[in-house]
């Protein structure tokens, strides 16, 4: 118990010291706001609830519907909520299709082996470059355009990892199943899928990080005023750096949280896995 507390406390202390140092140095050397705002200035952007200067700006430009949805909420948090929905929507679509395609092709091993090199090749391309195309296809203000780019980015790591996990089964384990005269479906269910779980989770960790990147960068190419990516570009272009920084930090926090949720799920789904053996 004491050790665990220490494990959590130590990084927390380091973080606080770093923030204090940052604040102190910026004040001491009188660093310009646009170069590096003070942490306190950044944080103040996150806790204003009323229509502060930045909030007004955001909603004056937004249409009626967006104004209604964001009303009463801190503008950055409202934008974060909007972008998070895009990221989660895209993540859900990409993960589902990735898993389904992998499962479907695993039934015909020759097909997955033929597909895998293509998937790996596509996966190494900067898929984010398609963001403007998606904005054109689905409409720049339509959240679906960002979901599509996220889904596309997430699909490949999930599909590749799942396919690998389904195929890379220990030869003896497979012979054991054959000795029981198990059907292909039973082998899939009781051997291939559990075997693929660690692979799927490492795909999910990559996917979770990619989903926020995809949504925000997609928004850099254009989107509704309420979106986090649009907010960041706009605030930065108007030299309101402390609010731009605040939005970036919120994006980071969301990205890290998504990742941690996946790690938690992994522990729940695979208590047997080797990476947790030390405890």
């Amino acid at each position: 118990m004491k050790e665990r507390l220490q494990r959590i406390l130590a990084p927390l202390v380091v973080l606080i010291v770093l923030l204090l140092l940052w604040e102190g140095l910026v004040t001491l050397f009188d660093v310009q706001q646009f170069l590096l705002p003070k942490p306190s200035a950044i944080v103040s952007n996150l806790i204003t609830r009323d229509a502060s200067a930045t909030g007004e700006q955001l909603f004056r430009l937004g249409d009626g519907l967006v104004f209604y949805r964001g009303a009463g909420l801190n503008p950055i948090l409202a934008a974060a909520r909007f972008t998070l929905k895009e990221a989660l929507g895209g993540l859900a679509m990409g993960v589902t299709t990735g898993l389904l395609v992998a499962l479907a092709t695993a039934r015909w091993l020759a097909l997955s082996e033929a597909l895998l090199p293509f998937a790996i090749a596509v996966n190494s391309m900067p898929i984010i470059a398609f963001a403007p195309i998606m904005n054109n296809w689905f409409g720049i203000d339509n959240p679906f355009s960002k979901m599509a780019i996220v889904a596309l980015m997430v699909f490949f790591p999930i599909m590749i990892n799942t396919t690998r996990g389904l195929m890379l089964v220990d030869a003896n384990s497979l012979e054991l199943m054959r000795s029981y005269a198990a059907s292909e479906f039973e082998i899939l269910r009781r051997l291939r899928i559990p075997n693929a779980l660690p692979f799927i989770f490492s795909g999910l960790k990559v996917a979770a990080s990619l989903s926020m990147i995809g949504a925000i960068v997609g928004e850099y190419f254009g989107g509704p005023r309420i979106a986090l990516g649009v907010y960041i570009t706009q605030e930065a272009s108007m030299f309101r750096f402390s609010s731009a920084w605040a939005a970036i930090i919120i994006a980071c926090v969301i990205g890290i949280s998504l990742y941690l949720i996946i790690v938690l799920l992994e522990r729940l789904c695979m208590p047997w896995h080797s990476s947790f053996r030390s405890s």
Binding site: S173, S179, R190
Partner: protein, 263 residues
Amino acid sequence: MTHPAVSIQNTNMIFGQGTSNEVQALKDIDLTIEPNEFISLIGPSGCGKSTLLRVMAELISPTGGTVAINGKSAHQARLDRDYGMVFQAATLYDWRTVAKNVQLPLELMGYSTAKKRERTREMLELVELSDFAKHYPWQLSGGMQQRVAIARALAFEPSILLMDEPFGALDEMTRERLNMELLDIWRKTKTTVIFVTHSITEAVFLSTRVIVMSARPGQITQDICIDLKQPRGTETREDVSFFELEKEVRDALRASEKMGAGH
């Protein structure tokens, strides 16, 4: 009328037939094994003893000859789950607890929940691992893992137990203890055991018959009856005839190695 547990006639196994790296793993194998025998297959590495075991299990199909298990084709015997298999690696599924691993074949064979629990409990008792039912495989030692594999192979009461160097990766002490346990299990369950091993001592101690094989091509060179008295125990290892039989098997192995080298 009772059938032999295993009847193999004129069986050949050629890997990569018709290619430049063609290997004859088994040549003209004739072997009959009666129910409740304990047979060891012994020979230098590459002599095809594991291949022969896999042919019986129908994990591979021979390129010639006939294989009958309990009077049926090897294919039918596999579908009927006539045998249980134990590999050199315990091959437990990491994501299953010890009890769930033992239960795996029972799930595939559609046992009722009550029957599954009952058999699993019995099997864990048989291999003396009742206290470890809820452990995961990585929490067990190599010897314990192998005992789980044996429990799993016997869970559905197959009439034949096929073992491919099951104790090959274990230390000498553990191996001797597991040998004793295996004999005990064999007596209690009355299964036919076919046991592949590298160890002369192990083969003589366990078996009612030792089949000596030679390499390239894999052939049966000798069939030695081990008529040491049953049940066997620590005193068996000190028996004069135990040493004589050990020597006989060793000589047979030497002779077969020379034969193999002549090819």
